[in-house]
């Protein structure tokens, strides 16, 4: 148990993700869940029945008056993020915003500006980036194991949309888009984290069943010269949870990132690995996790995500998953939709 006082945190938006964060904030030894905010106050009994013991407030103002937090987790529908963040930053609180950051690049950048001007720590909820294998792959790329980076192929698939869908998640103006904004954005975040800013892309999107994009193909050119292809769909059979993968080629080899392992082929030894094939399995990497809130989806990444945010709030050093990095993702999302609409490549 830490000797430091716990980080007092509140969750705004008591939907599915809000409840996941609430549970973790209750379980984590360095955090204290002080309240939920949701306009639907009839949720109070539902939350309590799940063991989420913090009070539910009808507004951020009511929360601040009763139980001022050190940090706020924004888990409301995407189109409300900018307004909720503005309201939350009436007080100096550290800020965690669920993905995607906003429905537009302008709103995402407004959120980043608000957080930066307030001088608070901030992070975004691209949870898969916190899986140990994804972090290990990033470290290999950053350490130059592959030499000059050349190209990649990536995919993000899930079996979710096979007919008309209802709810805010499938309304472009409320969710910011379809599979690109809400599923593939996990992989877009990882691409941005690995390769930096995007320079140009060409994309096509299709709506098979819903009114938003159900699939997309994107050709990227990053500012560092890396080129690559992303294929994504939430209308393919075979996977109840997000199945993603990434293969990166450099002048010194190839890295293949999958859910439980990294395959690394090197032409010359690098970063402590021999020439030839190397395998780094998730079981060889530290999990640093005290509680697994979602064994089949996300797993230990949720706990590690929270730990990284807590560390940032403690140390004053922004985490790798900051809102600035999430803005890079948002630039990609917006460019993909712009390119698809124009039927032509766009500069990002």
């Amino acid at each position: 148990m830490s000797a430091r006082p716990p980080l007092r945190a509140a969750v705004v938006g008591a939907g599915r993700m809000g409840m996941v964060h609430g549970h973790l904030l209750q379980v984590h030894p360095e955090t204290e869940l002080v309240g939920f905010v949701d306009r639907d106050t009839s949720l109070a009994e539902h939350l309590a029945s799940q063991g989420l013991r913090a009070p539910l407030y009808p507004s951020v103002a009511a929360l601040y008056a009763a139980a001022p937090p050190d940090a706020v987790f924004v888990c409301t529908p995407t189109h409300t993020h900018v307004a909720v963040v503005r309201e939350c930053l009436a007080r100096r609180v550290h800020l965690f915003v669920e993905k995607p950051l906003a429905t537009s690049r302008a709103d995402a950048e407004a959120i980043l500006r608000l957080a930066t001007d307030a001088g608070v720590m901030h992070a975004a909820g691209y949870v898969y980036a916190h899986l140990p294998v994804v972090q290990a792959a990033h470290d290999l790329v950053a350490a130059g194991a592959l030499g000059e980076l050349l190209r990649f192929t990536a995919h993000a698939y899930v079996s979710e949309v096979f007919g008309p869908k209802k709810g805010w998640f499938f309304q472009k103006e409320q969710a910011g888009g379809g599979v690109v904004a809400n599923m593939a954005s996990h992989v877009l975040f990882i691409l941005g984290w690995y390769f930096g800013a995007i320079r140009r892309l060409a994309a096509s999107t299709r709506s098979h069943f819903s009114t938003v994009d159900d699939s997309a193909q994107v050709l990227f050119t990053f500012a560092n010269g890396v080129t690559g292809l992303l294929d994504t769909s939430w209308s393919v059979p075979g996977t109840q949870m997000l199945d993603y993968g990434l293969a990166v080629d450099g002048r010194n080899g190839t890295l293949v990132l999958r859910r439980e392992r990294i395959l690394l082929h090197l032409l010359a030894p690098a970063a402590g690995h021999d020439a030839g094939w190397n395998e780094i399995h998730a079981s060889d990497l530290p999990a640093d996790t005290a509680f697994d809130v979602s064994p089949h989806i996300g797993g230990e990444a949720f706990y590690r995500q929270l730990q990284s945010f807590v560390d940032a709030c403690r140390t004053g050093v922004l985490p790798f998953c900051s809102l600035a990095e999430a803005c890079n993702t948002q630039r990609m999302i917006e460019a993909i939709y712009a390119s698809a609409a124009a039927g032509a490549p766009v500069d990002a």
Binding site: S49, G51, E160, Q240, H281, S283, D284, A290, F291, V293
Partner: protein, 283 residues
């Protein structure tokens, strides 16, 4: 498997809900395991290896395969309910009422009456969206839909279990144990957080005949760490059954089972990939 092999349990759940080494492997496996005859063959392979129970999240192909398997083999099903992925999908598509209705309409007439009467007596809790009540009701409907299968143990789905453990909602577990007792079967727990389960349930843990939790020589998925989990297992090894024994396919079948045996646990859960690999190798 050898005479010293711990009691083995085959784990079945919709193939779409597993992780695979590649997209190609996923499609090939999901397509194959969507066929009841292939699943039945898998059950036979597991039986040949020594599996004497099937821990199952049941969907239509799995149900059909298990019905066929149990005609020939006296192997009980340990049912994991509800099928959370299907339930979440139905929640998104149909809403809470629609998801409940879909399960209700799958029941036989007698189960419909029982479920209906049970729901009436819990209307207040249902209206309040009480977690334990909702979970129990959905679980009961899915269990009732397993008619024809010989079920001897009852488990909550781990996605529900971990939420209940995070919130310390022991009522969700005691309701399950009560239900199991009424049915004359045993209750169990599947979790990645066995220490939390022990802390939340305290003495009530004794009501659960089996706690299925990760156990492997690499500490993979053993939260908070391998040492703490093994300490807990050693206190009452007969209550714990090892899951994730191959550490995500990083440990070969022989050493994986030897590790479980060394700890003296009550058994080991084998996933289909493990079974197919061990069967091919003639382990």
């Amino acid at each position: 498997m050898t005479a010293a092999t711990p009691p083995l349990v085959l784990e079945l759940r919709p193939a779409e809900s597993r992780h695979y080494a590649s997209w190609g492997e996923r499609l090939e496996t999901v397509a194959r395991h969507s066929r009841p005859d292939e699943l039945h063959a898998l059950c036979e392979e597991a039986y040949a290896l020594g599996a004497r129970a099937v821990l199952a999240v049941v969907d239509a192909p799995i149900r059909e395969a298990l019905l066929a398997f149990q005609r020939w083999r006296d192997v009980p099903v340990w049912a994991v309910v509800p099928n959370m992925f299907a339930f979440i999908r139905d929640l998104t598509d149909l809403g809470m009422v629609g998801a409940a209705r879909a399960r209700f309409t799958r029941l036989g007439p007698a189960a419909m009456v029982r479920t209906g009467l049970g729901a009436v007596s819990r209307l207040g809790a249902i209206r309040r969206r009480d977690f334990a009540t909702g979970t129990t009701l959905v679980a009961e409907m899915e269990l009732a839909a397993l008619r024809g299968l010989r079920v001897t143990r009852l488990f909550l789905h781990p996605q529900v279990t971990e939420v209940a453990l995070a919130g310390g909602v022991s009522a969700a577990f005691t309701a399950l144990a009560d239900r199991a007792e009424r049915l004359g079967i045993e209750a169990g727990i599947v979790t990645h957080n066995p220490l939390r389960a022990a802390a939340v349930l305290g003495r009530e843990l004794g009501r659960f005949a089996a706690v299925v939790a990760p156990c492997n020589p690499k500490g993979y998925k053993m939260f908070p760490d391998r040492e703490a989990c093994e300490q807990l297992y050693r206190r009452e090894p007969g209550r714990f059954i090892a899951a994730e024994v191959s550490a995500g396919d990083a440990v070969a079948p022989g050493p994986a089972l030897a590790h479980v045996r060394a700890l003296g646990l009550a058994g080991a859960v084998l996933d289909p990939r493990f079974v197919e690999r061990a069967f091919r190798a003639g382990t």
